[in-house]
Subunit: 135 residues, 2 copies
């Protein structure tokens, strides 16, 4: 059902500083930047093989990213797994695993968060791309 790691998100306080470091680690320029006002974040991402590594900086204190940063500090935020259908993935797993309804992610991504208290401490998410990826 899950076909690939779609993206891995890391929360950072200073996006530009983190981008500079990741450009050196990955040996490539940042691929794309996104403003995500409805999520309370801005993001920068790198295409690494078939996956994205996404750096996320909170932009307002009441958003999920800011609350996660306040609670956990910088570092891993979530692992997003590409599936063919959010509904089928949730049906197979049980609806009680869903953390709220599906929502729009960056770009054309639609994501479904899973309840972190049921996934051994790691925030997991399913993801589908709703139309062909712009690049």
């Amino acid at each position: 059902m899950v076909r690939r790691i779609h993206h891995v998100n890391f929360i950072v306080r200073d996006l530009d500083a983190a981008v500079a470091l990741y450009e050196r680690v990955l040996g490539m320029p940042v691929t794309r930047r996104d403003e995500l006002p409805e999520r309370g974040a801005r993001a920068a991402r790198f295409r690494v093989g078939e996956s994205w590594i996404v750096l996320v900086q909170p932009t307002r204190p009441d958003g999920v990213p800011a609350r996660y940063l306040a609670e956990h500090g910088e570092g891993f935020f979530l692992l997003s797994l590409e599936t063919t259908s959010l509904d089928d993935a949730l049906d197979a797993l049980g609806a009680q695993m869903a953390d709220g309804p599906s929502r729009r992610g960056a770009d054309n991504w639609r994501v479904q968060d899973l309840r972190r208290e049921r996934t051994f401490g790691a925030q997991l998410q399913f993801c589908v791309e709703e139309r062909p990826l712009r690049s």
Copy 2:
């Protein structure tokens, strides 16, 4: 330089319980299990596209995984990035980014940890496969 996400590791307290959950999330049986006595851990992994998702349970209290679990709780442990050469990757980044010398990982993997205090809270690692992967 970095070609793909080679593996993502998550620390768990109860490997069998976590494997059962991840089998349902990923829609596949666990691909492989490894005993890593020199690391103080046992692991189970899933092949997801071109990457591995690895669950790691500490097996002795003085190992790095156990200390990480004690400090951070269950959840994300590290992101391992496949590169063509550990030496070249470190040369490009600066040797002061290395957290110790390279070491053997599971299977035929050789890994080089980076210093977490320099990577915005996320433990990053470079990885090469030293001979063709057994499957």
